[in-house]
Symmetry: C2
Subunit: 156 residues, 2 copies
């Protein structure tokens, strides 16, 4: 069954899911952030069917999230590398990981991140771009932006 498309929703959450909401894609991105770039390495680490992996990687290339970089000509072979648009998904993957660490990791986090600048195991604290204070969802008020339409999801 083909799912509905979110293409006509004026909502950036929906537009993002249109690209990375496909099952497996966030885990492909996770591995790409860990330095994986070869088709066979993704395949082995994820235990994913080759045709599904190929379709997901092709979709990420098509949407500009990853790019193919040839590392061998005969036969042609490619590294799959994150683009700037792809690297910008870092916070999405980090937020998913940290939530899972807090709520779905009874033995503790399987993986932790060391902030090399300060040398400590770090967690993401979301701060305001304008005043620098830590952000809380209770202090945020949604307003219509320049791209709003009648279907924009501002308030109930």
């Amino acid at each position: 069954m083909r799912r509905a498309s979110f293409d006509d929703m004026a909502c950036s959450v929906a537009q993002s899911l249109e690209i990375i909401g496909e099952w497996w894609t966030p885990l492909i991105l996770r591995d790409a952030f860990l330095g994986v770039s070869r088709f066979g390495d993704f395949q082995e680490r994820l235990g994913i069917a080759r045709n599904i992996l190929a379709a997901r990687l092709d979709a990420l290339v098509e949407h500009g999230v990853m790019k193919k970089v040839a590392y061998q000509d005969h036969p042609p072979r490619y590294d799959y590398k994150l683009t700037e648009k792809g690297r910008d998904l870092w916070l999405v993957v980090a937020a998913l990981r940290e939530w899972g660490d807090r709520w779905e990791a009874p033995d503790g986090p399987p993986v932790e991140m060391v902030h090399q600048t300060c040398g400590n195991v770090t967690h993401v604290v979301p701060c305001c771009s304008e005043c620098g204070e830590e952000l809380s969802p209770f202090e945020l008020r949604p307003v219509r932006g320049p791209g709003a339409t009648d279907r924009s999801a501002v308030a109930s």
Copy 2:
């Protein structure tokens, strides 16, 4: 076709997707953060089939992300409210929204967030919980955590 389960992966990204990776679920969460709580309101805003919406809401309740609160006894009717675990997904939804705003919103963001503390339209800046500096993915080094297993996705 039943998809594979990520249950046996020692990875908090995978565990999170096991719960919120279902198609539609992040948009249900988005609306819940905007204050929507009634079945009919979710249904109307999302244009989603009632049986699919019911299954997604049931799964979120089962996983402790939402809770049902009766607002009427005859016939029984419920509000669907985010729990603490659900509200803690805020950064996942915000990160998806902001990425979509940057890369998939050619007319500008459909929705913006005003930080009521400072009064400005805000964006999330991810900061280090330990030193307070802005985090960049290039300064993070993954290490095995207490919940690591042989299948933990630390490095390629």
